[in-house]
Amino acid sequence: MSNPLQAAYYADDAQQVDAKITENRLLARETFLVRLVAPEIASRVVPGQFVMIRIHGLDDPLIGRALAVYDVHSGAAGEPEAIDLVYIRKGKLTRYLAGAAVGSVVTVWGPLGNGFAPDPCEHLIMVAGGIGQTPFVAVAKEALGHQRFGQRQTGWAKRVSLVYGARSADLLAGLDDFAAAGVDLQLCTDDGTRGRKALVPTVLEEVLQQSLQNTSAAAIRVLCCGPEIMMEKASEVAAACGVRCEVSMETPMACGIGICFSCVAKVRQSDGDWDYKRTCVEGPVFPAEKLCWE
């Protein structure tokens, strides 16, 4: 049956598995990386997709959490075997997860949502705030041709920059991974403890202006993930420069697979009006101009 939901996507690739933790380590202040053995998910996931994770058998916390896939790790045979997730220890589930021992098992289902499209460009500018950097290691590795995800093409960007802001230096997580991938890092912090003491949209504007000196606007792409206010301002900066911009929404989800209708965002329709759309199945990545910011 073709498309009875009038939604472009379903979670048809998703698998529900009980996955063993093989690594669970601190990356930055209150920020952890957990590695889960889940070949069914690792072989399918593409950059910008997410999984739902839940502590097996517990009623409290009850509901799964949506976490972006940070990276895919291959086994000895070179086949995708495990997924890495990066999370901040903040609520009930992440506090529990941070204390979970290597060898213990969590329930995960995914891959979910639509990733960032691998559309070729000269200069890819990734824009992250807070914990919003988590999808971008995989994006950079794919875009620069270091790693294949799923069946997708690689090497679709000539240059990749990351504009990344956090409250302070000790919250910046994964900088080594970005540097190893060959990403140009443009850091900023609210307190000036690392990089510029500036807001992310300000730094983006400068990076864009510099890029536009030798690259046409049509050959630049901006991808955003982070607080909505940051994404709104960043998308305004991109629009003013005539540069294509996509944003990854993080609205509260209960299921991740399109059945609960919790995670809605106001999305512009072709008739000019808006409708609530589920970010789990119709996003989380949207063209910035389609969103009605609240």
Partner: protein, 304 residues
């Protein structure tokens, strides 16, 4: 192998494990993850006469062992349901029980008739109890209004009628008896309990709609109590709903008097739960030396 089939007046189900309205989308979403044809029945998300955009976010908030929701019957209306969702649903080889909600008795009747006349619909569930939609009569809290709407829907609808009731009443037995009197083939107990969550630092409610319905394991004892009270008060078949996530939960509801159960919130946090429960059911029946589900329904022994 024990017989898993159950009869609820005019409605026959191949097994007693159904999935609750609003917790399984329109089934197509689950195709990749659940073998839907194995289910005893599917209740797609409630439909209304006109499209509804639903409530402002946040629409769900997790609480201890439960979930508060205020989705607001977000749906594209009956025309879109029949055009886009029913063709898919009707080819799934299980009972499709369509949940409908109206603001007036006439709306319930018109929706029940229209849906009931569609090919591939096994029954209609009247959602008499959605706590998140204002306006209209609250048919779930007024026994006489409940009886009238069920009777009118039954007269107009060629397939069995189920009445889904709210626990947010003083005496659920009276509303259930009224639904039975109106001709409901079964009553579905319970919808969510009205609740609320507050962010004291921001000094605001967490749900966009302020209040919402509580579901999940937290409400199971309330649901069991309602099933038990209604079982004692009337003969109408009962479909139990409320926090069911394990085979023990299923058996508790059957013993307390439910002929079947609907899995709700657990579909969100354990998408494959329903078919796993079907796999586990024969073993649990064997523990009671029962040859059929119907042997254990209402087998609760009360203290003398």
């Amino acid at each position: 192998m024990a017989s898993l089939s159950v009869s609820l007046n005019r409605l026959q189900l191949k097994n007693p494990i159904l999935v609750a309205s609003g917790t399984f989308g329109y089934a197509r979403e689950m195709e990749g993850i659940v073998d839907c044809a194995r289910l005893g029945g599917i209740l797609p998300k409630t439909i209304t006469a006109e499209p509804r955009e639903g409530n402002a976010p946040w629409r769900t908030v997790e609480v201890s062992a439960g979930l508060l929701n205020s989705i607001g019957l977000d749906n594209d209306g009956v025309d879109a349901f029949i055009a886009h969702h029913l063709p898919y649903l009707s080819q799934v080889e299980t009972a499709i029980i369509v949940s409908v909600a109206g603001r007036t008795e006439a709306e319930y009747v018109a929706l029940s008739q229209r849906i009931g006349e569609c090919q591939g619909v096994a029954a209609v569930e009247l959602n008499l109890s959605c706590p998140n939609v204002s306006g209209g009569v609250d048919f779930g809290t007024d026994a006489e209004a409940c009886r009238r709407v069920v009777a009118a829907a039954r007269a107009a609808c060629p397939v069995p009628i189920l009445a889904k009731l709210t626990p947010n009443v003083t005496r659920i037995t009276e509303v259930a008896a009224a639904a039975a009197d109106g001709g409901a083939d079964a009553v579905c107990l319970i919808n969510t309990l009205l609740g609320m969550a507050v962010d004291w630092r921001q000094q605001r409610p967490l749900l966009g709609n302020v209040m919402g319905g509580l579901s999940g394991p937290a409400i199971k004892p309330v649901a069991l109590r309602c099933v038990h009270q209604v079982r004692c008060a009337t003969d109408v078949p009962i479909i139990g709903i409320g926090g069911i996530a394990t085979i023990d939960d299923v058996m508790e509801f059957l013993v307390a008097g439910a002929s079947a159960v609907q899995i709700g919130t657990a579909n969100y946090y354990d998408p494959q739960v329903s078919t796993r429960l079907i796999d586990q059911l024969p073993g649990a029946l064997a523990e009671l030396r029962a040859d059929s589900v119907e042997q254990v329904v209402g087998s609760l022994q009360l203290p003398r």
